[in-house]
Symmetry: D3
Subunit: 136 residues, 6 copies
């Protein structure tokens, strides 16, 4: 079993808040991350897929196909967007990195399997100090 | 003459647009960077000051004083904020990195000189691929 | 299950040596790392905790609480200190990165659990080429 | 159980191609990576070994011995070489990163065990965006 | 005057050698870098342009135009190529990083000026330890 | 004129203090950096030399010669050492990064010129946030 990791990047605005709460309640729980006027990040996304090495071409998966899957399903929806307002798979969710990794997992699991590999891990690095991983 | 560089970071939302233009005109010039719902970045800020080495303490400037100047005048105003809506020294300016470095220069020049050094360069790295420098 | 990793940093002096051995014996086993006059590093510490996503706030753990736990129990004791002479949880141990990760694990396991998550991994990066991980 | 990771680097030329295929067929499958005139990379190699902490010296393995094993068996054969033409353990294989990690695993497993530790993972980072891992 | 730096990347094979010399003479001067079977690198290219901030759009130069200039004139010719055999602007030159930065300068100076800015610096980072700059 | 930069690294212990002052006075000026039991860093050293490209070999200076100069005169004296107690060119100086860059300049200027290039800049990065440059 081989694990292949692709890094992609996107820049997005977001706000951590729960709509049932007032701005003051959100501020109490989420601090400056709940700023009603938004803030943003350069996110790094690490997608790890696993599979056997193909005897035909020596790869786990064709990298161009993997990149196309990631861009179509995730990057194009998130890059230079507002994560709370514009991203279909984040609608109705608190815009935390924890909720983001599970949502991205759900977007990519099917297409990666259709391409002949298995999705192993989604990791999102929000800043140089904070990152989150999900293994399904 | 010695050059001392301090790196600081801030995460902010912004939108590149000119208010006299329509969203369509802004989109034509600024592309996805003009998204009306904002996007954001992890900015890295490099402040370079210059001066002679003090015979008393062997430094160009006391680092704690320099950090306080940077945080009070720049980081506290930009971090987890909306650059277009909430930052006094960016009011009325197009929120490009070019306008940001000159504005930060103006904020820091006086306080750095009062602390006994000279401001040499403001560099802002917006993404791992794009950065801008200003020397006054 | 979600894995959240926080990076923190500390700069410390240390010396790899075993007090029952002479300086010559330590030099033979540990090489330049046993220099009796000490040397030091910028250590990077990666703390990974795991848990379920809270339906209430969408996070595994409140990041401010996690940071406070790490600083109070680890960073404040190690940063700008001598690892051999001044760090209570390294007393009587050879100051290797291997012994450091297990000691940090013991310091953090309880407080992380009290805060509602589980400690998953302690990783310490001593230089850009050497790092050590411990999973309990 | 402690996991120790050593990073090493090598710069090599390669070409992804299968000799039974024509250049056109290779181009169709491997794209620009199949350029008959070669291209190359700065590869980063991460070797993770595992073991118990020695009560004698507080380490999993003597780092100088580990470095010697890696250089003798892997780095000296790959650095500033052509991966397709000059590397004994890649002969007859398609020069993909997937085939490289399994080949390096086979080169290092025995020597690491003779030195008293176990080989846990071979990771090769081909570019800042692509990496591959193998756990045996 | 504002300085704007764009980073681009390319992976190429090369060999440092002088065709008037034998392989043995090249080996004596260039060491392993003269390997007749080639080796390669992930090159990082930093292009710095300078100019005034446009009152119209707040930028020194339109980033999409700058990227197009760099890709058309430099990246497309170097990426996944053999620097000695396939790159028109390196023909007849020893494939050192010093000769590369001056050649790239000559390729980009005209197009950058046509786009309304001035070329300030070409920097090429061959490995994490070695880089070369040229200011014209 | 071409500028060539070589990065080297060293790990050292130090303490910022002035021997005429008491520990309390040093603490007041230098804070935790004056800890009498020392602390340490992974220092990154960037040496920039300048010169014309040799028509003979296409380089500014032979890299192996430059590396030998840096190691013999600087790295071997600083790596895994105590900067205050063991480094001849820092004797009698406050162990600040400012004093370090000027001292390294003095060590390297002559040998670089003997090798046919000019010393342009010494930069030392003490942490990921702090660095100092000197141009003679």
């Amino acid at each position: 079993m081989i694990y292949l990791t692709r890094r992609e990047r996107f820049s997005a605005a977001h706000r951590m808040y729960r709509h049932e709460w007032t701005d003051e309640q959100n501020l109490e729980i989420f601090g400056k991350c709940s700023n009603p006027n938004w803030h943003g990040h350069n996110y790094e996304l690490f997608i790890t897929v696993k599979g056997e090495i193909s005897e035909d071409h020596g790869c786990v998966i064709n990298m161009d196909i993997l990149k196309e899957i990631i861009h179509k399903n995730v990057i194009n929806k998130l890059d230079h967007k507002n994560m709370n307002l514009e991203v279909d798979f984040m609608k109705g969710k608190i815009a935390t990195t924890e909720n983001l990794v599970t949502a991205i997992w759900n977007e990519l699991k099917g297409p990666v399997e259709e391409a002949g590999a298995s999705l192993h891990c989604i990791r999102v690095k929000e800043t140089e100090n904070n990152s989150v991983e999900y293994y399904g």
